[in-house]
Every structure is written in structure tokens, then in C-alpha cells.
Symmetry: C2
Subunit: 127 residues, 2 copies
């Protein structure tokens, strides 16, 4: 699970379903997608075919209704997306991005504490 392109918007929607619900047929995946925006069955089929070629999903053709599963894990994709944003808009400064994230939306005390723990761990290990 390493070399793969960054998924597009529609592709990410599908991956999210696979990450949450595990492998499934086109019909199952289509059913789990949000109703908004409405998307036809064949739209999802087509997307999955494309994603297969890109290596974002793999499929098992044993059954008539092929079963698709994610070929990339969520963290890897999220990491890529963060890195992309970092280079495109934050001059590769992690702290700038973190600041922006923390200030742009209310963060609960629990979340703050969680982040603090991570910072402690990072400083501890790099010491």
C-alpha cells in the first residue's frame, strides 16, 4: 500500500465507504453512499472500474457481482492529502497548517488534550 495516485473527490467518497464498511459489490457500495449528491448505479460502477485501473481498489470477479475492496489504506491517503496541502498552501510548514486548523474551527477540550499528548510523545522520542 504505497504508490498510488491521490483519489479524486468522487473516488474518495467511494474509498470512505470501503474503509468504513469493508469490501462490497457495486450495489452495496452505491447503497452506502450519501444520497446527496444523487448518483446513478452505473456512475459508481464506472468509477470503480477506473479506480481498479489506477490501483486504488482491487476486485474479485469470482461472483457475477464483482466484489471490490480498498487497495489503499486511509492513513496513507490522508497523509498524501495533507502533504499536498502542505506544499501547495502552507509553504511546507506543519505548524502553520496546524495553527490554521486549530483556529479555523472550534476544537473541543478533549481534542486539545489529545493533541497535547501527541506533542509530549513526539518531544519525548526526539529528545
Amino acid at each position: 500500500m504505497k504508490e498510488h495516485p491521490t483519489p479524486t473527490d468522487a473516488e474518495l467518497d467511494i474509498l470512505s465507504v470501503l474503509w468504513e464498511h469493508g469490501p462490497g459489490t457495486v450495489r452495496q457500495i452505491h447503497a452506502h453512499l450519501p444520497d446527496d449528491p444523487p448518483r446513478g448505479y452505473t456512475t459508481i460502477l464506472k468509477l470503480l472500474q477506473i479506480m481498479s485501473e489506477k490501483g486504488l481498489v482491487r476486485r474479485n470477479e469470482r461472483e457475477r457481482a464483482h466484489v471490490y475492496r480498498a487497495a489503499v489504506d486511509a492513513d496513507s491517503v490522508r497523509g498524501r492529502m495533507v502533504k499536498h496541502l502542505l506544499t501547495r498552501a502552507f509553504d511546507n510548514s506543519t505548524s502553520k497548517l496546524v495553527m490554521q486548523a486549530l483556529t479555523s474551527r472550534r476544537t473541543s477540550r478533549a481534542e486539545i488534550a489529545e493533541i497535547r499528548r501527541l506533542l509530549d510523545k513526539m518531544e519525548g522520542s526526539s529528545r
Copy 2:
């Protein structure tokens, strides 16, 4: 500086120049853009025209060579991009995003300290 679409990749390149160097003509902006990828003069002109329509930049037509300036500020755009990433890939969890950002790329001690200060300030004010 509020309602505006998220800039595309090429548009963000141009905005970055405007944010860093201030207003300028097409020629000046074109000169400040990175050489890679190479982009023709009229490409930038066209982009600026489109960005004008979208409200991302404003232009002064006093001189023959129109002068463009950013109509959106960097923080606002960055905030939007972060929010977009947050909703698309992080289930609106700021802490998840922050974790991902902190672990996906080495963060210097100075940056960590800076983030810590921000956390202190946030907790202090929300207390």
C-alpha cells in the same frame, strides 16, 4: 473578503505571487512565477481574467498594462482549504487532521513549541 470560490491549482500559484509581492501587472506576475512548470504569458493573462470574473483578484485598468491585486487574503483561502480537507477526509475532526499533519512529516522542536503556545492560549481563553 469572504464569499469566494476555492482557487484552483494554477490560481493558487498566482495568488501566492500576489500575496508575497503585492499588486502587479501580468508581466510582473508572470516573472515571479516559478519556472517549473513553464507557462506562457497569455496563459497567465487568461487566468487572471478568469480570476477577475470569479472575484479572486481585482484589477485597475488605469494604465495600459492592467494592475492586478489579490481580492482574497491568504488566511481566508487557507482556512477554506483546511475546512474542505477536514470535511472530505477527516470526518470534521480537527484533532485527526492535526495528528496526521504532525506524524506525516518531521516537525521541528520550535514548531512544536509554537503549537503548544497556541494550545495554551486556546485553553486559557475558553476556560
